[in-house]
Symmetry: C2
């Protein structure tokens, strides 16, 4: 197994990414290509792991350009052909790497994947899936931002792809929920109503509609929605969690007993934080591309990068893409694509 | 001032509602009509306030029917003409009450308001606004569920109506944010892009796009989105807050020091909870109807009901509907409606 890591992306710089790569390489005995400025990466690598003989596990692949976080995704990948993210996916295209992982510009990562690897046969719109913590197991929600204006066919395909992905966690028949604003089958906007009918006819394990408040209950394995709604869900959740922690902190800092109390309860807070931390769950898989790719949060720690790399190896081992092709064929996807 | 309260709606039964009415009547010296089963309400009222002479402030208006929480809103208000919610809005229509408040079936409350009072002239789609807590002042988000498939005109009108509403909190020129998934003006789905252009041309104080994570920052006074997205926002926030509290509680219960710590920090938790509690902010105003109506959460406490009633009186005193009519006329709403 060989994973290409965009070693120039992410808010914490190459050191954090390299540290994550080392953790993953050691834990899973896989080869990792760090893609980026060779001189820079080599100096970081020597600083972090001077004693370890990592030559067999860690390689460096040079690229001369970097896509910045604020660049326009499609323009950036068109212009910067030798950027670390483009070179990482090119390793996958050439068969030298099995998957690519990046914590850089998410839009550019998606654009690079589609540009370099192309779509999986029969997939109209590749998308991005993401984990949400719940009271039980994490749930996979798709799409979280790649496709803002969708048709029922797209949502049906998101359901197929996210189901195949969630099977890598040993879920045999993933339970699918359609995100909407009422519990009954007839409720929602036009897109959701038409999608409901399509999912109902398919071979997928549709549980029914789920509402916003059900997202964190863990009663389904996969939640399907368009990328506009999914991105709002993701950002509202992140924003609320951050704002709530800040409000709570402000209240605690107002009194000494509260401060002492907080210190005593700290391990519980830490365990809670771990439970809701995206880093524990790996990255957001790109689904529907002709290859394997994972987008990590810009803020990813070495631990998060490690988990994303391990997730990529799991996707490759489980042959998620093959699973997607088979599932689509089962439901007569060709006919759906034509209509 | 005279407010009609649907005394049969809500999860906690008439007692809680009557208690809320008493609090509001005493605080603001207003008359409140409790609408519902006369015998039942009188017995509750005598139990709760036997000594107080409330005759001048609290009236009972009999209605023989109740719309249940799980009933289909439109069907229910069509069939149950003598339901407490219909009778409450009928008091407003006849000019006997200035506003109606209900903690019952939200959809039925909206349907009853539109059916009995009709729309404000020039408003294409009445909607529901709701408060979200933020790090600064609460923000008003509209629409939170009345209109699932919207056109740019509808979103523009939501912006006008929510702005007029937010002025009752002494905000002179409410800052408006358009909810989308990218910060730049060009980002979002087709609806948002077209709405952005319309808002930009209007006399409204458009700050620009806001993302999901900005909802809780408090940098705008009003956030505009369609009712599908708004309802998902609302329910995801409620669901996350509940799930997070439950997860944190589970972690705290695992150890004795954490439990003691929690007890010490409890006042801080309570202050935090108060800050994010919907009850503190009153109910969700129905905007765009030819009259004044407020929907309360089913779980509303007496305190929440009191705040919703006070909010209704504030809306009436500030003549929000007149403000809406003037604002719409300013922007040439008639031309927009025709196009």
């Amino acid at each position: 197994m060989h994973i290409a890591l965009d070693a120039m992306g992410g808010d914490h710089g190459p050191e954090e990414l390299i540290a994550g790569a080392l953790l993953a390489a050691e834990q899973a005995h896989i080869t990792i290509s760090l893609v980026g400025d060779e001189v820079l990466l080599r100096s970081h690598l020597e600083k972090i792991a001077p004693a370890v003989n990592t030559a067999s596990l860690i390689r460096i692949v040079h690229s001369s350009q970097v896509v910045e976080m604020n660049e326009h995704p499609v323009d950036a990948v068109r212009k910067k052909k030798d950027s670390s993210i483009m070179v990482a996916f090119d390793l996958v295209r050439k068969g030298e790497a099995d998957a690519a992982v990046s914590a850089g510009n998410s839009g550019a990562t998606m654009a690079a994947a589609v540009r370099v690897l192309g779509r999986l046969t029969g997939v109209a719109r590749p998308g991005i899936a993401s984990f949400f913590p719940t009271l039980k197991k994490p749930v996979v929600l798709m799409d979280v931002g790649a496709n803002v204006d969708c048709k029922p066919l797209h949502l049906y395909q998101f359901a197929v792809m996210a189901s195949c992905f969630s099977r890598i966690f040993d879920i045999e028949k993933p339970r699918i929920g359609l995100l909407t604003i009422g519990e009954e089958g007839g409720k929602g906007n036009i897109l959701v109503k038409e999608t409901y009918a399509l999912l109902k006819k398919s071979s997928l394990n549709l549980i029914g509609n789920v509402e916003g408040r059900d997202v964190f209950q863990g009663n389904v394995d996969v939640i399907v929605c368009d990328g506009f709604v999914g991105n709002i869900c993701l950002k509202v959740s992140e924003g609320l969690a951050e704002a709530a922690m800040q409000m709570l902190r402000n209240e605690i800092l107002k009194s000494l007993p509260a401060k002492i109390g907080y210190l005593l309860a700290r391990p519980a807070f830490k365990a809670f934080k771990k439970r809701v931390d995206y880093a524990e769950y790996g990255g957001a898989p790109l689904l529907g591309i002709n290859g394997t790719g994972i987008i990590c949060h810009g803020k990813s720690s070495a631990h998060a990068i490690k988990n994303a790399i391990l997730e990529a190896t799991k996707m490759v081992k489980n042959n998620v893409n093959n699973d997607i092709l088979t599932s689509l064929a089962e439901d007569g996807n060709d006919t759906l694509m034509e209509s």
